[in-house]
Amino acid sequence: MECNYVLEGQNIIKKYKNFTLDIENLQIPKGFATALIGENGAGKTTLLDILAGIKLDYKGNLKFFGQYNDKDREKDSAVKSRIGYTGTNNYFFPHWTLNQVEDLQELLFDNFHIDRYRELCRELALYTGASFEKNRKVSSLSDGNRVKLMLAGVLARDTDLLLLDEPASPLDPLMRDKLCNMLRDYLNENEGEKSVLFSTHNITDMESITDYVIIVEQGKIVEQGFVEDLKEKYIVVKGEKQDESYASKIIQNISSNSFGFEGICLSDDLDKLSGMDIAVERPTLSQISVHVMKKYSILGKNDVDKRAAS
């Protein structure tokens, strides 16, 4: 699918002692919600921090909104103010009250709308309007309420790109559904000019909002594409027990029980399984993600070795 990109990156490298983020080519399509998926420690937060300008010790080229580089992002308020970011830990000063958080955002962000913020806080059930509620400290909020506070803050601003680090993780299922609706409303504003990039472990809950997927493993992008294209690229295969040993040569990370086997393979490899009694299904995003992550992760390799040994 041809599209414009809200964010592009080449050769993004950030080194830690035991880990290197090495992204050769990053493209976030404009007007869509992109999910950044990967196991713990894959590099999702590091990548989001680099894109949001939270970390500046990296190498590589970034291009925002088709024309601005990362230096423009740091020097030009018009660029950075178009990017909304929410993190996981250490976002707010924990001893501050909700009142102080409200005043802080008004001072920090020129495009912050206080009325919209208060409405969002009421909508997200952060407070019901009693004045004493705003004297609550951030540290007294649950993880879910803290995320809601961050989301209210970014959605109360006029932005064109949201970078959200694990927004769904601490939220209850009802709130996750609400989050998907809010992001959908955000994307529908300004006719395709707004984009969202979020990292998530809750692939199933966030699948309804996800248009584009980037799977990161061990600091590298191992798969990316529009969800529909990936669902055409991969296929779920189910077969009988007697065909399992042959099928395991084509299907990586095959799972089996006493009745048969199940696994994901490339659609292009389906003809290699001809002659076998198999059933095929369109995979879910969750199945594709787990399949790809298993292929590249250390956890996946350990599972394969364990299975081979047994």
Binding site: K15, K80, Y85, D103
Partner: protein
């Protein structure tokens, strides 16, 4: 100016203003009035000590850990105005602490003059003591702000407070009265020291904020 006031109010809650901005100075001034009946001008030593300690404690509740890399200000780093707000908050606090020290010392000086024989000599002396106390206090909080441990605050600040006490003792307890040229020299030195320390504090805060964008070792 409005932005500075708003930023100052952001960092200082109503309780901070009530307790450390009003109640504590009132107690210190009342204590000064009581003690100055006996010790006259020498009471300023105690006033400076208590004021410095209360300011150090106040700083803990507002800025503890703010200079450490793991400090909680992702929201600041994600904003273009984050650095401006951070530095404005720090510098408005320095200005407030200088004004606070001066206000408390000057009120106490007036009380001492009323309760005892007024001696104009101690006005410039108290200015020197105040500026020296401010400079030493500022140096101490630039160190303690790396920590979020309450115990470390008075532990690290105490040597600097002792130095301020020694200055006050030298100027008030010894009975030695400095000549005008020496007084002027000490005032100038105290002003220069205060300006230098304030400027270095600004640069230090700026550096700490900029370092927070970089991981340790990188």
């Amino acid at each position: 100016m409005i932005q500075t006031i708003k930023t100052y109010n952001l960092f200082h809650s109503i309780w901070d203003k009530l307790i450390f901005g009003f109640a504590v100075p009132v107690v210190i001034i009342l204590f000064h009035a009581l003690v100055s009946l006996e010790l006259a001008e020498m009471t300023i030593t105690f006033t400076v000590v208590y004021t410095m300690y209360s300011e150090v404690m106040r700083d803990y509740f507002i800025f503890n850990g703010i200079y450490s890399r793991d400090s909680h200000h992702l929201i600041l780093r994600s904003s273009y105005n984050g650095k401006k707000l951070f530095l404005r908050g720090i510098m408005s606090e320095h200005m407030r602490s200088l004004i606070h020290l001066f206000a408390v010392v000057m009120i106490c000086t007036v009380i001492t003059s009323i309760l005892n024989k007024p001696d104009l000599y101690y006005i410039p002396v108290n200015v020197i003591i105040t500026l020296t106390a401010y400079a030493l206090y500022t140096i101490s909080i630039n160190i303690v702000r790396y920590f979020d441990n309450f115990t470390l605050y008075p532990f690290i600040a105490t040597p600097f407070i002792i130095l301020a006490i020694l200055c006050a003792i030298a100027l008030t307890f010894t009975g030695i009265k400095l000549g005008t040229p020496l007084l002027i020299l000490f005032i100038v030195l105290a002003v220069v020291l205060s300006i230098l320390v304030t400027a270095l504090s600004y640069l230090h805060a700026k550096r700490c904020y900029e370092n927070s964008f970089y991981d340790k070792g990188n």
